[in-house]
Every structure is written in C-alpha cells, then in structure tokens.
C-alpha cells in the first residue's frame, strides 16, 4: 500500500527530517506516527501526499512511485488519498455540504452522485442535519468531522491525518478517534501523526516513532512511549 524505500529528506536549512526511512504499510492497517515536536512526523506525512519531496529514495503508493511524479499528475495522486489536518482546512465561505461536495466537483463527478455520496458521508459522521450551515457555526469537533467526511467522500484507499485531535478537547478527541476506527474497519488504511498519548495507549495499533529524523521504533501493537 505505502512503501518508503531508503527515503532521505534534508531541508535547505540543513535539518535532516528523514534519515533512511524504510517502511511498509499494508492495506487496511492503522498506523500511529509519534515523536517529539520537530522530529520529522509532519515530513513523513507530507511526503505521502507530495507536499514535500524526498531528497533521496522512493515512495510508492498503491505500487506507483510518487517520488518523481510530474507536477501535473499530483492532483490525481491526491484524489486517491484523503487528508485530514489539525486546523481542518475547510473553506469558510462554503456551506458544510459544499465543502464536502467540492472534493467531488474537482473530479467532475455527476451532480446526482455527488449529492448521494455527500449525504452518505454526512450521515456517517452524524452531521446530516447541519449540511446547510457554515463551518464557522460549528464546534471544533464538528468541523473536524466535516473535514474527515471530505477526506473519505471519494472513497480513497488511504486516509492520512496530521494531528487530527490536536485542537480538540479530550472528549471530542475520542469521538473523532471512533470515527477513524469506523473508517478503518471498512477497510481504509489510516496513517495518523499524533501527540495524544492516551489515545495511542488505549486504541492499540501499530506505532512508528520518529526522533531527529530517524525511525527509532516500529511496533505492531505499540505504546506512545513519551511523557506527554
């Protein structure tokens, strides 16, 4: 599903954010990426949807090498990957419905199937009744659920989440995690960078720990392993 082969990433300021990353994530896996701030978690995540390019090595998604993907092909890569961010990244001038529909408009989906599909995912995240509201009118947890709905609306095989609970209170964080669990049980691979010790230690999954650009741990049912 996702493979990194001897991936290095050095930023222009000399910081080594990825030092020989060599991992393989199988279809349907749920993987936490943990580590202190500035360790390279975000780089790890960003390289998967080509916001960052590795300096050396190869990244394969679904068997396709995305390392040397032409800029014009990047949108097509992103259509097969759902991305969820800490700050939700919703379009504030569009309604909840339009925000989710946008991901399908981009791929020129038929309007009828857009409607059907958007209502399906809104139902899944439990916010069908707020379809006509603006993002600003929703709570943080609700906004994150909308952003998750958007990430899965075009049924990607992988969902990548960068600190999805970072801005949320503990209770809401659990709700969001339950949602990811639900999506995972339906067969979608999930890669999530997180700082949330409690979650990682309670909902057990594979843990990849990164420190100073090095993978220091990769355990099948791992623990968070840091003081939070």
């Amino acid at each position: 599903m996702i493979q990194m082969k001897e991936v290095y990433k050095r930023y222009p300021n000399g910081i080594m954010a990825a030092n020989n990353f060599d991992i393989h994530i199988k279809p349907g896996e749920f993987v936490y990426v943990v580590g202190p701030s500035g360790a390279g978690k975000s780089t790890f995540i960003k390289m998967m949807y080509r916001e960052e390019k590795p300096t050396k090595g190869n990244i394969l998604i679904n068997g396709v090498d995305i390392t040397n993907l032409k800029a014009s092909r990047v949108p097509y890569l992103r259509r097969n990957i759902g991305v969820v961010f800490q700050d939700f990244k919703l379009l504030s001038r569009l309604t909840v419905y339009e925000n989710i529909a946008f991901a399908l408009e981009v791929i020129e989906e038929h309007p009828k199937s857009i409607k059907k599909r958007v209502m399906e995912v809104l139902d899944l995240v439990g916010l069908k009744h707020k379809a006509r509201m603006m993002p600003d009118e929703l709570s943080g947890g609700e906004q994150q659920r909308i952003s998750i709905a958007r990430s899965i609306v075009n049924t990607p095989k992988v969902v990548i989440a960068d600190e999805p609970t970072g801005n949320l209170d503990p209770e809401t964080s659990w709700e969001i995690m339950n949602l990811f669990e639900e999506i995972n049980t339906r067969g979608t691979t999930i890669v999530m960078a997180t700082h949330n010790r409690e979650i990682v230690n309670t909902i057990r999954h594979r843990v990849i720990a990164i420190e100073n650009g090095l993978i220091v741990r990769d355990e099948a049912r791992g623990e968070y392993g840091y003081e939070s």
């Binding site: 014009s72 949108p75 890569l77 020129e108 958007r150």
Partner: protein, 294 residues
C-alpha cells in the same frame, strides 16, 4: 473539461466578483481609467496617422520637359518613368493646359501669355511610397529631355521626420499606458488572491488541478475587463461623435480628412474591449501563477 464544470467556473467567477466588492471596484476603476486614456490616445494617434498619410499621399513631383522634345520623345519618356520601380502614377499635362489652369486661378491678366506661353509641358508623378520621392526624382532627372524635377525637397523631409517622431512617441505612450494598466490590474487581482491563498491551497490539497483553480480567476479577469471598458467605450464614442461633427465640415475640401465616424468608432470600441479582456486575463493569470505551487 465537462460543460457543467465550465458553468461552475463561470458561476464561481461571478460569485467572487460580488464577494470581493471593493477589490472588484478598484480593479474596474483601474481598467476604466487606463482604457479611457488608451482609447483617447489611440483615436488621436490613428487620426494623426491618417492626416500624415493624407499629406504623404499628396506629395507629387513636377517633372518639366525640355521645349525641344518631340511628341514621340515625350511618349517614350512617359513610358520610361512608368517603368521605374515605385512609381504609382504619371500624368501628362501640356503647357496649354497649365496656362489655362493659371488663367482660371489668377484671372485674365494671365491670358497675355497666350501669345507666347513661357510654361513647359510637364509630368505629374506620384510615388507608391512617398519616402521614395527623392530617389525617383534623382532617377528621372538623369533621363534625356528633362528640364527640371521639383517636389519641395526640404519641406517634405522635415514633414516626414516630424510625422515619424510623433508616431513613435504616440506608440510608446500607448504601450506605456497598457503596461501600467496590466501592472495595476495584476496587483489588484493579486490582493484578492492573497486573501484567497488558503482557499487555493485547500483546493489543491483535495486534488484540484491547476486549471481548475485558475479558470474561475481567468473568467473574473474577463469580466473585470468587460465591465471596465463600458465607460471608456461610451465616453470615447460620445467624444468622437462630437469631434467628428465639429471637424468634418471644417475640413471639407482640404486634402486632410478626419476618420469616418461609422467604421472607425466600432473598430476603436472593439479594440478597447479586446484590450480590457486581454489585460484582465493577463492580470489574473500572472497573479494566480505564484499561488499554485502547493
């Protein structure tokens, strides 16, 4: 791209115009002012150009023929001149015709000369390109039986250089104006885009292609250009109509004419509209470019 995607882009572009009210107003004002200036200048330039061409076309050479030339020799001379490259027309005028022209112009005193006509038979020669007049004159001068070739040498040279300079100055001014307009518009659009930077970033992250992001902005540029050209088109039309009404009777009979209102105003309005659209599109294109590298 599918038809409904296009209609989405057009809808988006209108929404964005409405949403960015003040920025839209600023861009439209910039386009309006520039196009008005460009329109007035172009109208002026084209009329000056017309006047220049009228004057240039009026340049003719008077080729005086020696008195002893026979009719055959005159005929062969005419043929020789006609064969020169760059000669547009040659017309022959006898000294009798010349004299009756003088009598018409200056009155009967001139008829004294009918006894002993001091004038010469002449050709009136016109060059295809008036700037070739000097060369052609020199060539004609070298033929047999030519008494003299006259064409007001110094004045013409001077006129040409003045016309040349004023044309160049006008062209530079128009280019300068257009450039400033593009700069202004691309700046205003850039400001609206900076405000929407996050939006563009999100679009790209959910997999929108560059064109998907770009096309609504390009439409927006087109609308800005069209809206911005309304006032210039109206004003230039009214202005030119009045100038035309005022000038054309006064120029009646002179060899300089102002450009006809009817085809000219449509041409210049089409030009204004086209320029509005071009600077609008160019402005949006340049300003989106920077934000697409996500």
């Amino acid at each position: 791209m599918k038809a409904r995607t296009w209609s989405r882009h057009i809808r988006e572009s209108f929404k964005s115009l409405a949403r960015n009210g003040w920025m839209t107003f600023a861009s439209v004002s910039a386009v309006t002012v520039t196009l008005l200036l460009v329109g007035v200048f172009t109208a002026l330039m084209l009329n000056m150009n017309k006047a220049a061409t009228d004057i240039e076309n009026d340049v003719e050479m008077n080729v005086y023929i020696e008195l002893e030339a026979t009719n055959e020799e005159i005929a062969s001379l005419e043929q020789q001149i006609n064969e020169l490259s760059g000669v547009e027309s040659v017309s022959y005028s006898t000294k009798e015709e010349e004299l009756s022209g003088l009598i018409d112009d200056f009155g009967d005193e001139m008829s004294l000369f009918e006894q002993n006509n001091p004038l010469r038979n002449k050709f009136v020669v016109q060059a295809v390109d008036p700037r070739q007049t000097e060369r052609i004159a020199t060539q004609i001068d070298s033929f047999d039986y030519i008494y003299a070739v006259e064409y007001g040498e110094d004045k013409i040279e001077q006129l040409f250089s003045v016309l040349e300079i004023s044309r160049n100055v006008g062209a530079v001014l128009i280019f300068g104006l257009l450039f400033t307009a593009m700069f202004l518009i691309s700046n205003t659009i850039k400001i609206t885009i900076v405000a929407r930077r996050r939006e563009i970033e999100i679009m790209k992250l959910v997999g929108a292609s560059n064109w998907f992001v770009r096309i609504p902005f390009i439409f927006e540029g087109i609308w800005l250009g069209i809206i911005g050209s309304i006032i210039p088109i109206t004003l230039v039309s009214i202005l030119y109509y009045n100038v035309y009404e005022f000038m054309s009777p006064r120029l009646e009979g002179s060899f300089i004419q102002i450009l006809e209102f009817s085809p000219f105003i449509y041409q210049i309005n089409a030009l204004i509209l086209l320029m509005g659209v071009v600077i609008g599109v160019w402005g949006s294109f340049m300003s989106v470019r920077k934000f697409l590298r996500v």
